[in-house]
Symmetry: C2
Subunit: 221 residues, 2 copies
């Protein structure tokens, strides 16, 4: 956790909540867990945030909003630079994925935990988070979905959406389990290695969208 100068209870609280929500989930984490880890009084959570759900939402949007702003800004700039031609597929995927992979690899400032929270949010539907997801995440994903679509006009809509679903699933699953990569691969792949993960993910995503519709028989050796 980074060093705080004054008595910034709110910040300490958000970092502690982020870590525990990532590790234990919303329902598996109590406010006493959080305030205990943060070393602040139990009532501080309610004083600064109002209630537990508001704390979770704050933890979530605090990370996601800057990421999405950065993504949309970079996308807009890339489209401007590309003028009338299309922004390259690698670049689109890189713009979409890099901020998340870098955050997931950040073990110094707690960013790693947000990637896990995001992964949870997409699989476990917390009722009070639906509106947040719809408002904060879906428009950005739809934006990239449209941009990528222009590179794959040969794919039928259903085919394209399945592939998009696979790519997004692979990304979020990898992000959410990045911290266990080393153990899972017996030391071959490193934990929290954004550069390596991204270097593998971008060609993977490109290959997914550019694969032929009816693949020719696979080379069996």
């Amino acid at each position: 956790m980074p060093g705080f100068q004054k008595s910034d209870t709110l910040e300490i609280l958000l970092y502690a909540a982020e870590e525990l929500f990532a590790k234990q989930g919303f329902d598996g984490t109590t406010l006493r867990d959080i305030t205990g880890l943060a070393g602040v009084n139990l009532a501080a959570a309610h004083y600064h945030l109002g209630n537990k759900e508001a704390l979770y939402i704050k933890v979530f949007t605090r990370r996601l909003q800057p990421i999405n702003e950065s993504r949309l800004a970079r996308l807009a700039r890339a489209e401007q630079e590309a003028n009338i031609s299309l922004v390259g597929m690698e670049q689109l995927i890189e713009i979409m994925a890099r901020p998340l992979f870098e955050l997931a690899a950040d073990t110094q400032h707690g960013g790693q935990y947000f990637a896990r929270i995001l992964g949870r949010c997409l699989v476990e539907p917390l009722p009070f988070m639906e509106a947040i997801i719809t408002a904060e995440l879906q428009p950005v994903m739809a934006r990239f979905g449209q941009a990528l679509r222009r590179h794959s006009p040969q794919l039928a809509p259903e085919e394209y959406l399945w592939r998009f679903s696979f790519v997004i699933g692979a990304m979020h699953h990898s992000l959410a389990t990045l911290h266990g990569m080393k153990v899972r691969t017996h030391g071959i792949c490193r934990d929290h290695d954004a550069a390596a993960a991204l270097q593998r993910f971008i060609p993977f995503a490109v290959a997914t969208f550019t694969a032929p519709v009816k693949p020719e028989p696979v080379n069996n050796r």
Copy 2:
């Protein structure tokens, strides 16, 4: 829920628990939720299962064990039939994936809920489930990982493992969110359509493993 003949409290309990654990998670579901939905007495859960964790484990293994037995049996038979040559890549992926996709599409007997529980288990690490995952799931996945590896000797170990991770992530993420596919795609992709999902997933997985290591520049239209 299927019809039960006698007073089979245990079965009713397992179906109710499966549905609620899938929708709300382990910590988000109370025993009173479960016994209430099942229409049985609260103490019945403890009488038949012992405690809440044992109930969750039972819900989990009840579905996973038959699936894994079927997978391993089909794999062994395919390898026998292939004799000294390799079992085809499509076939390997099909054997690994089909039982899960078919369960995820089963809206009649609650199978759809297990796919969501499995997706949760891979993202949110319930402490008491680690041993179960290690014992029940990892050996089977390692088995398929090895079999697929023989088709991709050109890939460096790290490269192969990243691709395997993407494929598994795409599969489990899609399985866990299959029930929302129709809404997410504005009606273009159907919910609970195992055949369609599998038909897209198998070529996707094959393309992932067969993509060149250094992809040539993408066709920008």
